[in-house]
Homo-oligomer: 334 residues x 2
């Protein structure tokens, strides 16, 4: 099933079920008011949402309406846990090569995860508002899972059962700020200001055979200013799968319903598939040409991130964002 | 005013107003069901909660009942943002000295903050359940603020207006795991499994003159197995105050209502005030005696963390926890 959260002026929005073809939607107001409420009691709520999903897919739902991604908040506008893993290690390996650094010895043994902001996930069409292009504004196209409760010390198999939904993720990153923060040992804070999510989150069964081994085996297409920048396959070269990332997180603590676990910018070994971030492209430029030539994003630039199924149809809808200069005057505290 | 969240079997619990002397409580069910709901609309809700607070302080509230910290969840059982600052820098300076490392040049110029788990804040009397003492189980006694919305690029003065509540914080830390994670540059994940909070969160006005300069000028008492381990003053040697920590966080992003910002284990320059964590005591032992002699926590150990006002009365109630071995058999995913 496919779920979206409509902007009704509240912080958590209003849960809606969206048809498989992303054309129509139906409020889930009789079932669960918000996605977090649904996740809080998923075993009970999910079958009811699925019934509604079947109804609108068959064209029956008499209160169905046209689905408009521009009217969506993130499927889960805020969450009590967000952990970002880096599972496409060729990106790190390329960066080490370009910088003449050694690849960490345990890179392929121990998952690397950091905790990030989860109080303000952006909708698929929300502007990226930032103050300075000098920060090195970059996108990072990837995926994330949303979990149910997962117990402390869960194995990867147990963790896999806790994965309830998937969505696309644009992990907006300020590369020049990240370079400053990398040395502190405290992880990334100012360098990771926001994440935008696809219009819908989907249950893994929507992916059919493309969901196997805890990975999504489909290409993730990202474009900058209308030009295709990359279409690497999200399953091909993913070292740690989602259950492994989740089990790593659970080693010393339980995880509660609504946790969002991403796996980093999708990257393949073959660079001809393109890149899911500007920094990865710049890294390859340094390796090939001795210097980076692609600039980071400028105000006015536009992004599009989308995943198509084997049938050529959009699975999650598209993230479509413009980069815009933050105007402090209209954003003071209430 | 003082607020608590009672355990009613739900994830977010039930909001209650607690009398100044922590003796009686009254459900806030007619005003806001949960603390997050109150924070989501604080300007409208807070005055109503305050009226109820005045009523129970005067002994009138006809549905008031005895307040029992053992029946509390954390005041905010889950939050969409938790950022931990390290503002008691003498602890870092001592650690550098003990390890023969140089103190980072910008330590007193740039706040250091990392993002931590916020999906499972523990109640004041919840057991600390962990699998292995070999992880180096430690407490870290400190304070945290809970915020309203704070805009991107807010100044410290603007950020100060966003601070709505304060509480005590036990930031449970696995020191031997932290040592492994420190080198990754990704911050702390498995090393920071849980946080326990005081029974009540309070509005800053409850502190009177002890809340000044964005700091709490009172000693924070922590005991291990009934023996006083430290009573450093939380205001005396706090380098970055809460508004500065919050403004640092807001440099590139807005912060949404319910964010929890802590300032690290309280420490004073004068070591005779004792310590707010075992690691800080061990550091001092290394400096003074050449080797650490105090062990980390063992299963069965107990902790108590409390702050007394100038009148000798408990301000937040006490965090009172026992360390217990995690029993995986009774904690599988649902």
């Amino acid at each position: 099933m496919k779920l979206a959260t409509l902007n009704d002026g509240t912080r958590d929005g209003q849960l809606a079920v969206v048809s498989r073809d992303l054309k129509t939607a139906h409020l889930a107001d009789g079932i669960a008011p918000t996605l977090q409420k649904a996740l809080d009691d998923w075993t009970f709520i999910a079958p009811q949402l699925d019934l509604l999903y079947q109804t609108i897919n068959s064209g029956r739902g008499h209160r169905a309406f046209d689905f408009d991604p521009a009217n969506c908040l993130a499927p889960l506008p805020r969450s009590s846990a967000r952990v970002a893993g880096v599972s496409y290690l060729q990106q790190i390996e390329r960066a080490c090569k370009a910088a003449g650094r050694e690849v960490p010895a345990d890179l392929r043994e121990t998952p690397r995860l950091y905790q990030g902001a989860s109080d303000n996930f952006l909708g698929a069409c929300a502007d990226i508002e930032l103050a300075h292009v000098e920060w090195g504004i970059d996108y990072e196209a990837g995926l994330a899972v949303i979990t149910d409760d997962v117990a402390m010390a869960a194995t990867p198999d147990q963790a896999q059962m806790g994965i309830k939904l998937l969505m696309l993720f644009n992990d907006i990153t300020l590369r020049n700020v990240a370079a400053e923060e990398a040395g502190t040992g405290f992880g990334f804070l100012q360098a990771k200001p926001a994440v935008a999510c696809s219009p819908v989150a989907i249950t893994p069964d929507e992916l059919g055979d493309a969901w196997r081994g805890g990975r999504v085996h489909l290409p993730l297409r990202s474009s900058v200013n209308g030009k295709l920048a990359g279409q690497p396959n999200a399953g091909a070269d993913m070292t740690f799968n989602y259950p492994q990332l989740l089990a790593h997180l659970c080693r010393t603590r339980p995880v509660r319903a609504g946790a969002v676990i991403s796996a980093g910018g999708v990257a393949n070994k073959e660079v001809k598939k393109g890149f899911s971030s500007i920094v990865d492209r710049r890294t390859q430029e340094i390796i090939a040409d001795g210097a980076a030539s692609t600039p980071y994003l400028q105000f006015g630039d536009s992004l599009r991130i989308e995943m198509l199924g084997d049938d050529g149809k959009s699975v999650f809808g598209a993230i479509e964002q413009n980069v815009r200069q933050f105007d402090g005057r209209r954003a003071r505290p209430a």
